[in-house]
Amino acid sequence: MTGVLEAIRAALPSAGIELLKNQSPCAQHSLLVAPKDARAVAEFLRDSLGYDFCSNVSGVDWPARKVKEAIVRRETVEGVGTDVQETIEREIPGFLEAVYHLFSIAKKSGLLTLRVRTGNRDDEVSIPSLTPVWKSADFQEREAFDLYGIRFDGHPDLRRLLMWDEFADHPMRKDYVPPDDYEYEPTPHDEILAKVKSRTEAA
């Protein structure tokens, strides 16, 4: 993985690329690529490093979340320095992510995980499509667009894949709320009744 990273840095010095560690025992680390460089990096990986097979494209939703971090702060009180442990809360803004799993059939090697992130989850959801590089990303990017709302710039045919065209939302997002009435209930009861009541009271 580090060899691949160095090769990319040598060939594309200006590319925004970063190694993300995976804490899992399988240690499948990934490369985070800036959207502006994704196409160039992908083409380099395919043409120069032999990653000819884009196996899997997944969308991932990361809503804004707060993480607690333990920090150690040096505090000096009346000339005596002491280390104070503190927990701070840090807010990580939300984003959507497309994860590409690449293999090399020519060299029978792999796995290389490539991640591209959007700016946020609302209006900056465009990242470049890698379908022109690997045709296999075609349907899978359409699926990520359908279920997550990631817009893939340069995709030849970016339409919904699984949901119907008139559907408005992106059901795989973490904050997706399924509608009450997608199955008609003549006599709502239990959870559905509670939902209907809260809706009518709010209106």
């Binding site: 899992s24 997944s58 059939i105 029978k108 296999s136 349907f139 279920l147 699984l162 949901m163």
Partner: protein
């Protein structure tokens, strides 16, 4: 000015094939534009069987996703279980019990045999040989499903694998029955081949239809028999050596032209290799527990991280991409569906072919809609 309608030059017509067409293997639709009988455009339409398997799995515990994976490719539920179990084992670093590894290979290869048997029947149905060939193929498949029933209690929705092993041990006498079935299986393949592979109509319908170059197959993400039929030597059982496949001797058949006939014959050859693996696995199976006693099933919480695990399923590369946030349910549960991704090049393969060949091309890719639409 004539009151007669003007005779327009040759026009194309749009035909909607499916979703309720017996040769689409389920609810799948293709919007085909035809110039006479020749396909000039083909747009697949998905989603008729979509129930958002991934969302359901993300709302359930890690173990509860296991029976749901049966419903992906419902012809081969056991290999779906295997791929998911493998990905979770990678994610959490779980060792698999030795005996379970052998059982996994045995049931996995039996799954491949019955899938390829069903494929032979289905593709002949797609060519117009309705019923008869399918009946012979299903006769053989039934025997394997009986074995699955004896082992797991279910013929198709087996729900058999667990993290670190398998759900239950082999019932008494099961291995002996399996050995007999495996020994008899090449006779079925010989019979099928004697009846079919030299058949003039079959050759005319398959040979030279929709050839696929290795470069296009790789770039299009084809996997499994479709990829190997194009002459690419890539079998995940050999490349990844997952499970204990490294211990068995078997060959990887390859096609040369990549046409429908190669894709057809490759399944026959692959089934013969599966028989070889089965013989070795049945002969070498050790005793011992069928599950790693340290592996937790209920209330299982893998460490924070992610893993991509894949196996050589009967239809192609079946992968699971899992992200854990340390809780009792998957943060992200993604299936890499070989049936869907193998359809990427369906339009490319079909353009220029006759409308009747589209069904054969689709049949030669071998899809199951439970996996395409998830």
């Amino acid at each position: 000015m004539s009151h007669l309608p003007s005779l327009s030059p040759a026009r194309t017509i749009d035909v909607s094939l499916g979703p309720q067409h017996p040769s689409t293997h389920g609810v799948f639709r293709m919007n085909v534009t035809l110039d006479g009988e020749t396909v000039v455009k083909l747009q697949p339409v998905f989603g008729y069987l979509h129930r958002n398997h991934e969302k359901i799995a993300e709302g359930n515990s890690w173990l509860a996703a296991m029976p749901y994976t049966d419903r992906l490719d419902y012809i081969c539920s056991i290999t779906n279980n295997w791929a998911y179990a493998l990905a979770v084992e990678k994610l959490a670093g779980i060792e698999v019990a030795e005996r379970a590894e052998f059982i996994r290979v045995i049931v996995g290869e039996l799954t491949r045999l019955q899938n390829h048997a069903a494929f032979l029947g289905f593709i002949l149905g797609d060519m117009g040989a309705w019923g008869t060939a399918l009946m012979y193929a299903f006769r053989e498949r039934e025997k394997i499903l009986d074995l699955f029933e004896a082992l797991t209690g279910a013929r198709m929705m087996c729900n058999y694998m667990r993290f670190g092993g398998c759900r239950c041990d082999l019932p008494p006498g099961w291995l002996e029955t399996t050995r007999k079935l495996v020994d008899g299986f090449p006779a079925f393949l010989d019979e099928m081949e004697a009846l079919l592979t030299g058949n003039e109509i079959l050759l005319a319908r398959l040979q030279g239809v929709a050839p696929l170059t290795p470069e296009r197959a790789i770039n299009g993400g084809m996997s499994g028999p479709v990829l190997r039929a194009s002459g690419v030597d890539y079998d995940i059982r050999k490349v990844d050596n997952y499970g204990i496949y490294g211990r068995f001797k078997f060959r990887v058949p390859r096609g040369s032209v990549g046409d429908c006939y190669d894709r057809f014959m490759l399944r026959v050859l692959e089934a013969r290799e599966s028989v070889e693996i089965l013989k070795q696995a049945i002969a070498g199976i050790p005793g011992g527990p069928v599950i790693n006693p340290k592996a937790k099933q209920r209330g299982f919480r893998p460490p924070v991280g992610e893993a991509y695990g894949r196996i050589e399923g009967p239809k192609g590369e079946l992968g699971f991409y899992l992200i854990s946030d340390g809780s009792d349910r998957p943060y992200r549960f993604r299936v890499r569906p070989p049936s869907l991704i193998n359809l990427t090049l369906l339009e490319e393969l079909s353009i220029g072919a006759k409308i009747a060949d589209v069904m054969v091309i689709l049949g030669s890719i071998d899809i199951v809609l439970g996996e395409v639409d998830r």
